[in-house]
Subunit: 340 residues, 2 copies
Amino acid sequence: MPDNRRFLLQRRPDGEPVAEDFELVTQPTPDLDEGQFLIRNHYASLDPAMRGWMDAGGNYMPPVPLGSAMRASTIGVVEDSRAAGFEPGQWVMGLNALEDYSVGVTGGFTQPIDPAMVPHVTNYLSIFGAVGMTAYFGFLDVCAPKPGETVLVTGAAGAVGSLVGQLAKIHDCRAVGIAGGAEKCARLTGKYGFDAAIDYKAFARDDEAGLSGAIADACPGGVDVIFENVGGTILDAGLMNLNLYGRVGLCGLISEYNTAPRGARNLWQLIVKRASIRGLLVSDYVERFGEGAAQMGQWAAAGQLAIDEHIDVGLEHAFDSFMRLFAGTNDGKMILQIAR
Amino acid sequence: MPDNRRFLLQRRPDGEPVAEDFELVTQPTPDLDEGQFLIRNHYASLDPAMRGWMDAGGNYMPPVPLGSAMRASTIGVVEDSRAAGFEPGQWVMGLNALEDYSVGVTGGFTQPIDPAMVPHVTNYLSIFGAVGMTAYFGFLDVCAPKPGETVLVTGAAGAVGSLVGQLAKIHDCRAVGIAGGAEKCARLTGKYGFDAAIDYKAFARDDEAGLSGAIADACPGGVDVIFENVGGTILDAGLMNLNLYGRVGLCGLISEYNTAPRGARNLWQLIVKRASIRGLLVSDYVERFGEGAAQMGQWAAAGQLAIDEHIDVGLEHAFDSFMRLFAGTNDGKMILQIAR
């Protein structure tokens, strides 16, 4: 069997992760027990939530044990199998790790996928994976948008955010996105169809009033729904523009994952506006993924949904690629290609 | 006509209000126009929300204009009238001001009340007023408690909080209260029937971990509902103990009204627990006040609801009495007696 390169978590990051928290090692490919199968990982999804898995407390998943390969969603091909239903050559998707080879078990999180069903197999990590289903259920189910409402999306150039903006337009809402930099903002209005884009980098880091004013300019009728990926000053500026009975779908707080949280200081607006913040997690909707994927597939086929994927190649670049998520230097769903 | 003592807002407070922000003046009692009536204010409700009305931005109500008597809910007696339906001698309740005499208008917020319907007329400012209705609708409607759930109440010795704890017990929930000092905590478990009380003053101001641990000890099954009156470290400690799909009813943030908010730093728990925070305001339920008051009256008559009222006497003490709310030196609903 070939060697197995594995990207190990060797130390829990203190704030922003550094390269020394990880180590790329080469270990023997494991032998299979009965009921197991060997997956050659082709692509891995790199997601902000993985930052939480590196901490001792974990988040909605237990922490990755030190010395283990970093957990990640991957798609790959069954290379060897002692498990019924998983034959060599079968494409699969599952919660595995940043490594050449992972071991799957029957009854686990790994499921067969059919590359012929999608334009490119990586779409299973973007529009038809957790990202797409987060946008679909998080926006439509948790935020319950109504036609004519104004939807503010933060982290709008990101994988989830860009889909939410497009879903808002499909549902006849006004979509306004916040992103970092002129280039991303141009993509929001040019490619994803947002009605307006706000460049948060045009404001000082703590200039809540400036950002709030920009939101007010872009949302003259106020904001009915916030799809929140960022937190901090950006969330606080959004809260100041909420309409009565506004809803905030809380998908992520990426500005706070690597630092002590600044904290949400405008919760009083929830009282004034009788508004709500609700946390959302795609795992609540696993049983409805078929419905979501079918609907997203129809919109994509009709040209109503564009998804960008930013694919870096090589397991040896895992750290740099992961850190793009926090620097905002990825253009679309961040994917690491493991097999060449 | 007699002179009218009025407690004027003369300067917008910078952080914590000081006595110099206000002035007690004596002015002529106003003449009545057609459709107006003169109210002799007997009692005024002093509420934390009034702090927001002092700011230039206001909150859910417009700011009190500088030089005007400070807005407050009062109960009093019609002294003179040029309005149909408001005869001299009639008791009324309405949104008036801290002054001996207010002018009411037909079709305004002032409504007749019947002192014979309640044990004491001040109960219209507590259990049968905004306080009681906030507890009733804010807890039962917004938090939707189910039998067997654990309810955490912050500001639990306060007027609203003490009622919410008792409503939780009536609805077969476990009620845990957070209050400041051993005396208040003894009142929670002794008089209001809370299952457990936590003295936040036993912890350093920013000791979130200590407070969170105390909540965990008092709520071994976790927290399903938080009725939040305080914010800051206390809210953050509560969020750490939320159960899956927990609900936070956000009634107040008294710890943040006089200072730059510390900010809620544990919103990530909303994602992990798929929990929600919803702001609530009693004015949304005005049309259902009859229902709420009738039900609260039945429970009170059955001995299931105790309400404490802290009555200070004298308009000249308005400032000191108002500031009790922030120092926590009131024992029950804070009421200022204006007429002797």
